[in-house]
Subunit: 194 residues, 2 copies
DNA sequence: TCCTTAATTGAATACACATTCAAGAATAAT
DNA sequence: ATTATTCTTGAATGTGTATTCAATTAAGGA
């Protein structure tokens, strides 16, 4: 017996970044061997093929984002403050200039959703689960009486998701905090308004 | 002398649709010859290369959208009603299932903005000009006293643009009028609120 | 220590792709 | 009709691609 020599998470994060910057189609196996340090054969041995590595990278991305999200809301602050911090963090990503400024899930869905049913299902499922996590946050806000009891958490979560998608897209053309911050502020205000 | 035999607009719209469905990278010259009915040599004669055809298609897209926009607002209805109709039209596109459900500009910017400076500039410029057209609509709404005089048209336009980006992205995962209509309604309500 | 099993290596393979080009066809001016 | 000009045709070209595979290397059990 012999174990794999590489660190799976490190390899997946390297692949993840490459896919986020170039997109799936424009990322060549050569790009991936350079980014991961693995030889073609090793990639095919561990992940079957380019698409297998892509899916594994997407799953790692989802895992990382879920952990990050949970950590941000794992405190006893006001839920509204946490939401504000969450938006601030997203804005920072949009403005950072590095790979995280794009969301791998929406980018992949936009690129491949039309042609690849499997990618479409995986990304949609992960985006739905993100939506549900946000809905839970609004449920908490209701329990804290920060928003009206008659509020529809599912709807508010959907609206926030829409706003975040929009913010990220605006950031593509206007990566400017002076533009994005007021948008984020109004978005949050419109969400918690009576 | 001899004139080109093909109808330029028809060719550009065919190419446009192909690019919208597949994206630039995944559209092969073979796809384009099939969609346009032109042979490779004719395409290279008329548009230099694949990217030249792509840029021409983007320009045609922008022209078509601008015409459509102007037509929708060229009446003496309440500006708010026109905005409502505009959002309804966008929703219809999102739900139509055909190529128009994606915006060629944002899709291209997301796919190629990172690698191709020229595409980035063209798409950004066209998206900015769209933003300005919407800002003019809010100026009209101010003149009609439908929104407060102190409103910032630029900001409201940016917020609507953000919302439309978001709506289109939500439609990728939830192409459902029951989901999208309430989002569009709240978006409009939040825009014209005192 | 030897042997089985599995991972690693990187050159070789087969294929798809954008692009070219020389020959042919159509047009308009002379 | 002739000629010059330009467009059209589609097979050929060369490059970049994902993938394979036989040889090699390492690890753990007997």
């Amino acid at each position: 017996m012999r174990h794999a020599e590489f660190d799976r998470e490190r390899v997946l994060r390297a692949a993840m970044c490459t896919f986020m910057v170039n997109g799936y189609t424009k990322t060549s196996m050569q790009d991936l061997t350079k980014a991961t340090g693995l030889h073609p054969g090793s990639i095919y041995c561990a992940f079957d093929n380019k698409k297998g590595l892509f899916i594994a990278a997407i799953e790692q991305y989802q895992q990382d984002r879920t952990d990050q999200f949970k950590q941000l809301f794992a405190n006893d602050h006001s839920t509204v403050d946490n939401l504000s911090d969450y938006l601030a963090q997203i804005l920072q990503e949009c403005l950072s200039g590095d790979a995280t400024k794009a969301c791998l899930l929406t980018k992949s869905l936009s690129e491949m959703g039309e042609q690849d049913e499997q990618i479409k299902q995986i990304t949609c499922q992960f985006l739905q689960s993100w939506h549900q996590s946000i809905a839970q946050v609004f449920d908490t806000a209701k329990a804290q009486q920060l928003i009206p009891q008659k509020s529809d958490s599912q709807f508010l979560a959907q609206y926030l998701v829409m706003g975040i998608y929009g913010l990220r897209t605006v950031a593509n053309t206007q990566p400017d905090v002076e533009v994005l911050q007021p948008l984020a502020d109004k978005l949050l205000a419109d969400l918690i308004r009576q």
